[in-house]
Amino acid sequence: MKKYFRIIFAIPVALFAIIQFFQPEKNRGEITQNHLFEQTALPEGVQTILKNACLDCHSNQTTYLWYHQIAPVSWMINSHIADGKAELNLSEWGNWEPLDQMGALDKMADEIKSGEMPLNAYVLMHPKAKLTEEQKEQFHAWSEKLSEELLLKMINE
């Protein structure tokens, strides 16, 4: 009977150990000229918002927490990042047409305002990602200002 229990216990532990060898590639790219921060001068507050609430999944540079390294959490995190980057990758900002940049700004501001983004699950684990009303307004104001600049640029092109 004792032996039986030992096996029951040992199987999950062994499995857990084995899956640690299957780790997804880390999202730790170099920051290039195309990164949003390199492309335009942002107010400090907006940079903080983006760093704290967006860039982990919407850029090529994720800041990992310790438990993100452990499978199966690492798999889940990896798929979140892949989805986030497919929607919007701010490391690629410089590669886009002004019209696409404008569209992205509009969507970002809308989703932040409505609370769709950042995701609740993310905010739960990253308290700094919880945006205040003030921060949301600040982001909105910035996105509108940059959009107006882009509009002028497109009209004058």
């Binding site: 569209g103 700004l105 009209i155």
Partner: protein, 130 residues
């Protein structure tokens, strides 16, 4: 008796007024309707407007886009809205699957999709002065 006349009159006026305003609003044409090409208008009426109007029960759709109010938007918002219209239609995200299960006839044909996408792109170019 006289005492309740005034409140009753005010009450009746408000109710009546609201009623008139409400119907007037509902019957108002889609803003900019005159400028909408016939084909675009009929596609919007057929497949979009049911949810994307100011009185829609569908809160998300109503807030995302009210076809009547497009002309009232600022230039940037108008451009991004038009861009989004083309995108979600081309990607097949709109009209939504659930809606099409109920109303399969409202699915956009390839031709209709192209008409909407071309229209929105042309509008954007016009707004950009091209």
């Amino acid at each position: 008796m006289k005492k309740i006349m005034l409140p009753a009159f005010v009450f009746a006026t408000v109710i009546f007024g609201a009623f008139i305003l409400n119907t007037a609003y509902k019957n108002a044409p889609i803003v900019g309707e005159k400028e909408l090409p016939e084909q675009v208008k009929s596609i919007i009426d057929q497949s979009c407007f049911q949810c994307h109007n100011a009185d829609s029960q569908n809160e998300k759709a109503r807030e995302a886009l009210d076809f009547k109010a497009i002309d009232e938007l600022g230039k940037v918002k108008k451009i991004t809205t038009l861009k989004e219209i083309a995108e979600v239609i081309e990607k097949g995200e709109m009209p939504p699957k659930k809606f099409l299960e109920k109303f399969p006839e409202k699915k956009l044909t390839e031709e209709q999709t192209k008409i909407m996408a071309d229209w929105s792109k042309k509008e954007i170019d016009t707004l950009l002065g091209k």
